[in-house]
Symmetry: C2
Subunit: 147 residues, 2 copies
DNA sequence: TATTGTTATACTCTATAACTATA
DNA sequence: TATAGTTATAGAGTATAACAATA
């Protein structure tokens, strides 16, 4: 076997480290979701933001950022994007006029439903080798180390 | 409860989606490893590269890139970094003179041992809430969805 | 013609600093 | 003084295209 033999390429990466397994699984999931959601003008990040705004809105940009661990300057860009697509509106909070109170529009809720259907089928593909118990175990374990 | 009430901030992100859980867990693990390895002039990526080179070297840059799913132009930068630190050497493959055959130096193997000790304690912190069976389950499940 | 490695370049993502308007 | 949001800017990280050397 020479150095450049293709047989060596299949050898798995350092599987002892949780971090590498997480990086690989995340890389794959992210690429799948990004491709699948692009027709709706959504990225994984803006999809997550739209989900939170639709389910928990109205809420401030600061609250959104803390929930999704997104820096407030990045939140501005994400909300700009969602607003440009017509999925989210920036309102004013009557109690605190500094705050932009975010809420999903009708089109935003429609896009979200479509995105969820796509995401469900992506997730089915991602988890195709796992039975329902294993899927639940994976979610539970990930939630416990997510911090 | 007002829009900007801090109590809302603790609410978890869309936990139904594997991708979000993976993103969170990966974000945390990456930050922990990056901080912990920086005194050794290693990043998570160069640590992974050094691991592969030490365990499977000598090997070509192309093989390293395919194993770690790193683009070949990025491999150049990572190997530059490891070579500058004195951890890796670029040799020539006598059978194919296009190939750079990578191997770890003595200093590289020493740094790798030190990095592994640090990574082990980071991993213990990352997985502190999981018992040994659960840690093994998590690794097994992640490996099966990593693609 | 195809592949290995390299460089130059551009693009995405994210964070830092400085600002405004409000509190 | 502190916070919400904004802008400008800079820094990672990564990918694309074009090239030289070799197969």
């Amino acid at each position: 076997m020479t150095i450049s033999d293709p047989a060596r390429i299949a050898t798995p990466a350092p599987a002892r480290w949780t971090g590498f397994l997480l990086a690989r699984a995340h890389l794959r999931a992210h690429a799948m979701f990004q491709d699948a959601l692009s027709p709706l003008a959504l990225t994984p990040k803006s999809f997550g933001s739209l989900t939170v705004i639709a389910e928990q809105g109205p809420l401030s940009q600061a609250a959104l950022g803390e929930m999704l661990r997104i820096d407030r300057t990045t939140v501005v860009a994400v909300v700009d994007e969602l607003e440009r697509a017509g999925y989210v509106e920036r309102g004013r909070d009557s109690a605190d006029r500094r705050v932009h109170s975010l809420r999903a529009t009708g089109a935003g809720r429609e896009a979200l439903r479509a995105a969820e259907r796509i995401a469900d089928s992506m997730q089915a593909e991602l988890l195709e080798d796992l039975d329902p118990d294993e899927r639940e175990q994976l979610h539970s374990l990930l939630a416990r180390i997510a911090g």
